[in-house]
Subunit: 401 residues, 2 copies
């Protein structure tokens, strides 16, 4: 019998999804699971954007342009201009989710064995994309104590080798929620210019900034040929299932190379391009309501989490994630226990174990990522569950409260 | 300035799409282009399937399961049972187009440097996916003279090395339209069993067989662990823009590995999964009308093409493509000339140069692929255009009427 590849063997499991079978088993036992493990918002997709899909008028569901519909790319230039980012449509390539944008960046800019420096913890699926592209992620450790601020320039420089080709950030960050300051972006610029590196910037959560304002990598001067933006409508418009993202750069050679990858897979999905295009026309105050909601959830989450004995949860500046340190020796074992053994009044809570967001073995072992994608009532109940669970868990280090 | 990767440099351009800029320029000059270059059917997407999308009733466009909606996978087992193929939903993974299914197969079953034996000419984007996966395609030449029948077993065996991991076929074939017989599938089975290889079978055009009936690789006995089916709804239901395909195997290890790749990119597109699921419920005679239309087009195309002096076009048994040999020294130059220099009564025709479908340099140089995706009237006009063009083209070898 032919065997699978080493690549398939070594491909990491998603820390966000690998406990899914335990959650399914819990549900089958009648336990209701609060999902804080995955960034699937409960916010409704804007009705006007959904309606645009309902009212499509074509009779043939054709391939779109490999770079996405021209009309959509044109419209996106308006979207970015709101952030004083000037683009022309040829600099925008519509991708199948932000996922494909990240993969295209790795494929088009790096060869197998080349390296990307990435602050850890980082978006876990980057490990998967790196495995697919044969690229090595060189982590630079950021720390829960200072809320996962950008590590100092020296920490990046210590990781530079002759195979380093790019720095990859997610801003505001998934999984930490950290919002990088303009000054931190300027630091990254220095590193990229000094070592001639690409700056890959995943800005999926641009609109969701609570403490400070967002500064895009595309706004950096002198970095036209270095910056590649990976974007997506998944979180912005609560449209995760659409699988529409964008790969944006002013580097013409990168665009030309990426176009070949885009052509090989023919086109991005047609229906959700309609949704994305319509979403650009939402009233500009659309995000105010969503942001207010996320902000209230964040405040609730951080307060309630830090009130649990032994828990430490820094206050994230953006996105809708927080990393927290739990008073347990092994958060993954605890997360599994939550699903397999625990329930409180018929409920339990699902978290993403922190270790999956780190490349350095051993790090994040007592951390979890929480996505505040549930309404405040559910969120509060979920955290109550967690508190009771930590009190009941045999291996909890601190017993008090 | 950071440079692109060698992978990006070496990534082949799509032979189907690389002449697009010339077509755009022709259009701007007011010339109408008959598109025989791309497999974008003019057949309407079934209204019932489109309506299912129009009537979606969710308020949040959520991620689906990474393997696709359970209800859709369940429904697909019914679809395959019509061909006496027995599957359970866990053996089906919904992919983002057939493209992703091919890429998943290469990623999960082969390591960089591993080899796939493939009859050439072959679906051109396989070269792109192979470049992404770092996999080497070892072509076995099939010949226009015998309509591109499966090369003999010895030709395959001559290509086997210690890095060979799979054989890849497309049945019926894109670009040749050749329909492999059951006996030819049995030959491939022998090769795969003898050398312990995967059999990757792209069966996107299963319903479109005109001469003989389709025999699926999944119907081969003793091949449960060897066969991986790459499928798609793009051509079946004229739903190319949906980007919905399927990766199907009974090999559990391959499914488990592939699931990790599927989880990394989160989920296939949600809207078109609704379309795919609804399409399974179309009346079973749905394909009769479509097939009758394609058959009439094939007959027209083959007859008209072979009536052009110096042209040879074998009669394809399935799909909606034909390869033809033209009396020109360089078909790619001719195809470009058609768009740049030629017009007849305000029209020209776009073809896909044959060389892009071959891996062996020099082969297919005087061949083109034609997709009969236009109605008979347009098809006839397109071939008339081609005939006049060949007569007028300075480098045409045979001048007679």
């Amino acid at each position: 019998m032919p065997t699978i590849s080493q690549r398939g063997e070594q491909m990491p499991s998603s820390p966000i999804r690998k406990l899914v079978p335990y959650a399914e088993a819990a549900r089958k036992k009648g336990v209701q699971v609060y999902h804080l493990n995955i960034g699937q918002p409960d916010i409704e997709t804007p009705a006007a954007a959904l309606d645009a899909v309902r009212h499509f008028d074509f009779k043939i569901l054709e391939y779109s342009h490999s770079a996405g519909n021209e009309s959509y790319r044109q419209k996106l230039t308006q979207y970015y201009s709101r952030f004083d980012i000037s683009l022309d449509p040829s600099q925008i390539m519509i991708t199948t989710g932000g996922s494909e944008a990240i993969l295209f960046g790795m494929m088009g800019c790096l060869d197998p064995g080349d390296e990307i420096i990435i602050p850890e913890p980082f978006y876990a699926n980057c490990s998967g994309f790196a495995a697919e592209a044969g690229v090595i992620l060189r982590p630079v450790n950021s720390h829960i104590e200072d809320g996962f601020a950008l590590p100092p320039m020296e920490a990046f420089e210590a990781q530079v080798t002759k195979r380093t080709r790019a720095v990859l950030i997610c801003n505001p960050n998934n999984p930490t929620g950290y919002l990088y300051s303009r000054q931190e972006l300027e630091t990254l610029k220095q590193i990229c210019l000094k070592y001639d590196l690409f700056l890959f910037s995943d800005e999926a959560y641009r609109e969701f900034c609570y403490t400070g304002t967002h500064f895009s990598a595309l706004s950096l001067t002198e970095m036209e040929d270095h910056v590649v933006l990976m974007d997506t409508i998944s979180k912005r418009y609560s449209a995760c299932g659409g699988r529409i993202g964008a790969f944006i750069t002013r580097n013409r050679a990168v665009l030309n190379a990426t176009m070949k990858f885009a052509q090989a897979r023919l086109s991005p999905p047609s229906f959700a391009q309609i949704l994305g295009e319509a979403a650009v026309d939402l009233p500009v105050d659309y995000f105010d309501g969503v942001k207010t909601e996320y902000l209230a959830r964040r405040d609730l989450l951080v307060k309630e989490m830090n009130a649990i004995p032994g828990v430490f949860c820094p206050n994230p500046g953006g996105a809708f994630y927080a990393m927290a340190r739990l008073p347990v020796p092994d958060a993954e074992a605890f997360c599994q226990w939550l699903l397999e053994e625990f329930s409180h009044e018929g409920h339990t809570v699902m978290l993403a174990p922190g270790n999956g967001f780190y490349a350095t073995p051993g790090l994040g072992k007592n951390e979890v990522r929480l996505a505040y994608v549930l309404n405040r009532d559910a969120l509060k109940k979920a955290i109550t569950c967690l508190k009771i669970a930590l009190d009941r868990y045999p291996d909890t280090a601190i017993k008090k409260g």
